[in-house]
Symmetry: C2
Subunit: 518 residues, 2 copies
């Protein structure tokens, strides 16, 4: 059993652009506990007062699997833990586990701590011993271990021995600057194990794009704990990515690290964390990316249809992901048909597939992209089917955003549609121009289509395709609409962001009123 | 000297969302040649007719460093290369190098090719021998080599021997499904080298997030060629990332792979390729990401100021990148001052730094993010400086987008500003609402500030912060404005995308009229 030590809530939040509220942190912690990680590092109470609230509230939660850990550094030089604010903050967090980081690298001892090698050994041992005496389990993070070992192996080992004397249950070797390569990590872990017989862990950063490989190399040499973050979030190039490490340990190295049956929730957890952290999920992540098992190349798709395993390193279902066929301008008829199948579209009854393919290519040339907009493609199939009648036609629209000093900001829209020959002309306000258009369109259609009230606009994404043209650049809009549990995506593109949004919105509603129920 | 074989233009374009015109491909190829890679794989003439034009036009370019390669597969089973359309397309590309991919894995021989092991060996040897006879240098890509070797090592070696008989100058072992781990790659490369004494290369995919480590492991065991793509673009999780592999080879393994002095252009090349491929650069990429050497955590920044090397694995200048200090809500006064220094802001003359810090935190709570908007921060400093007078005040604005059947789409804006007590009230049209606002604002200010004509809006980015609220979500807008070579960024955020854009636009112009020249 390998210990998974998650530091998404501490080291992960060092990533540029991440900022988590206390509620966000608790939501993520609950999901990590459900996933079954061994430790959840909640924060650094000594450096970030906001974290105190997290530990306060975490205490009342009945954790099923995980132990909550608080992070802090060794006490000040020439001082004792008992009167050290940072160590006291660790105690006040009242977590079962305290993780203490100390210096390994002589450069840091002299340049950053500005003290002697002996004093550094003293504060490591004393800080840990003090927390142990208060009944805490103590994990020791040896900062810059690999750089420090390269500079002075004997002193690096002494710092570990000081930590063992202090009562550390695990010695975590940190590649803090992320500069090491896998065989270097492997060799040093092997030597440390021979010199210091004590459970080892590893904490890697991704500055050489080797953090996952480095973590796996350490486990391959006998490390029993891996520290990392969901999706590899972290400062600079990120921390070791647990979303890639956990499946490798379980599926490729045969090492259990999660409770039975939890691995298949990984995709969901990875996306949940991205959502709460308010970051667009990286679709190209190993195992958990939406594209991780997506096939675009023509031959690949042909081969896939003959032998599923021939182009997949693992079964996507094992991590809760799925195989996808991508529609793109590289696609032939084969991809398009697989895609139609995948979406359960009834093709064939006189549908002109070649015409649909041409429609797609023409729109892609204008900046549309259908890879994530299956509902738009479904509508294109439907419109090429003899006898399809759209539920409504758009006549006109007008949207205005106005700022008047003293009175503030307004967004209003007017929409005119024709339903079975009859014109409906309405207006509405909204939080912004697209919101106002959405409201006006619903008003215009509500009479003939009361079920429109069940359609819920659940996501709205905007991408500027060619920054070089400034505000005249082509804008691509993706809209997700929902009806109960059913969810679909549509796309629009135009140099005018309002028009792009309008196209996606109109398709999303048309799909909801026609095909969503099939 | 390690050979760098770039397949950005072939395997890289398999990434979802990438589509390159022939001009794009030629622009990228020229930059790769300047960078000094050994081979540039331009495409697959047999599968993608559009590539024929690339090879046609590439012939007239005087390449300084790189050899152009065309990619194709072995000839059809039970046929000969002389009447094989795909092999003939390779010849017609008239490149100095042809790269031929063949089957290693018995599963693929029987399931995908549906032929015998002997016939597969025959088509490998014959296809290569035919191209050699036409005077081409031939690289052999052994598809699924590592999976194939695990399934049947002896047959995997036979396919390589067939390629050697056919005249391959290099045997490239491909981890096509990207499922291998570094020590597995290392061990197999070692064994292959012992069995087949011939120059080896490696072609990895990133499905285990180990493509970089796997490529380096192969070189560590003696491989002399690495195939990959700029920024790791490629199908699914991408190809091996040359932007991480090249610096590791040169800076960490002491192996030369680029001409003298070229490594420091890597950052520029990586961003150029992202730009041409029309993908937002991943700021967290190793070595070439904007965040790769950015420091956010308070202690780190304090330590950085004491010892530059203590938190950097390599000197960022070696790859053309630079160290950055990040402004964020985690920042203390220290970060903010370092940042101010970095931007050459004159702070201190009575500027209320604490107040600026509070302004930043208040706006970040509303969805602003200043990490990429140094001009907005500079303005906040300026506004907190006694005696700062903004060049103009905004009074009102109105923007309307209108679609009328038969007449099409219009975007118009009205702007009212006050300059030194005098009100200027103007209107203008644009391609979209923000473009119209930009035009109207320029008109309103042109009288008093003719220099506004030199300000050029060079980039416009939109990010929806909280998709869950649909069209009512908070929108963040980043605007880049330029004056000659000087370029600055501003940010705006609001549930109304027009207002968010307006805030960023107004700041960008105010900065351009006041601080840009200091």
């Amino acid at each position: 059993m390998i210990q998974i030590y998650d530091t998404t809530l501490r080291d992960g939040t060092q990533r540029e652009g991440i900022s988590l509220s206390c509620d966000d942190k608790l939501r993520i912690a609950r999901r990590l506990d459900e996933l079954g990680v061994t430790f959840i590092e909640g924060g650094w109470p000594g450096s970030n007062p906001k974290d105190a609230e997290f530990f306060e509230r975490a205490r009342d939660i009945p954790w099923q699997h995980a132990k909550i850990a608080a992070f802090g550094s060794t006490c000040r030089v020439n001082g004792g833990p008992e009167d050290d604010a940072n160590i006291q903050a660790l105690l006040e967090a009242r977590t079962p586990v305290c993780t203490v980081v100390g210096k390994t690298w002589t450069l840091h001892v002299s340049e950053v701590l500005r003290t002697t090698r002996e004093e550094n050994l003293r504060i490591i041992e004393k800080s840990l011993a003090y927390l142990r005496a208060q009944g805490r389990r103590v994990v020791y993070d040896a900062e810059h271990f690999f750089d420090g070992y390269r500079a002075d192996p004997e002193y690096a080992l002494e710092t570990l021995r000081a930590a063992v004397k202090g009562g550390a249950e695990t010695l975590v070797l940190c590649d803090t600057n992320g500069g090491s390569l896998p065989w270097q990590i492997g060799e040093i872990v092997r030597k440390v194990q021979a010199a210091v017989r004590h459970p080892l862990g590893v904490h890697c950063h991704n500055d050489s794009e080797c953090a996952v490989a480095n973590s796996l190399a350490a486990v391959h040499e006998g490390a029993v704990q891996v520290q990392g973050t969901v999706n590899g979030y972290g400062e600079r190039c990120g921390n070791a990515n647990l979303s890639s490490i956990v499946p490798a340990l379980e599926l490729k190295m045969g090492l259990r690290c999660l409770p039975e049956g939890k691995l298949k929730t990984l995709f969901e957890v990875a996306h949940f964390v991205a959502e709460v952290a308010n970051l667009a999920p990286d679709e190209h992540l190993a195992y958990v990316g939406k594209s991780a098992f997506a096939h675009k190349g023509g031959i690949h798709v042909a081969a896939m249809r003959r032998s599923e395993t021939s182009y997949q390193h693992v079964d996507p279902a094992l991590v809760g992901n799925q195989m996808r066929v991508v529609v793109s301008e590289l696609s032939g008829r084969g991809n398009l048909l697989s895609k139609a199948e995948e979406w359960g579209l009834k093709v064939g009854e006189g549908t002109d597939v070649a015409a649909v393919l041409n429609d797609i290519k023409a729109l892609e040339a204008k900046g549309f992209s259908f890879e994530a907009a299956e509902a738009s493609v479904a509508l294109m199939f439907a419109r090429r089917k003899p006898g399809y009648r759209p539920p409504y036609e758009l006549v006109d629209f007008l949207v205005a955003v106005e700022h008047r000093s003293g009175r503030g900001l307004f967004a209003e829209a007017m929409v005119k549609v024709r339903v079975e020959g009859e014109v409906h002309h309405t207006a509405a306000e909204g939080d912004g121009p697209v919101d106002a258009l959405d409201a006006a369109l619903r008003k215009a259609l509500a009479g003939r289509f009361p079920q429109i009230a069940d359609l819920h606009l659940s996501d709205y994404k905007v991408r500027i395709l060619d920054g070089k043209n400034g505000t005249a650049a082509v804008t691509r809009v993706l809209i997700d609409m929902q009806k109960g549990k059913r969810r679909w995506s549509t796309v629009g593109a135009s140099p005018n962001i309002i028009e792009a949004s309008w196209i996606a919105l109109v398709d999303a509603v048309e799909y909801g009123l026609t095909l969503a129920d099939n």
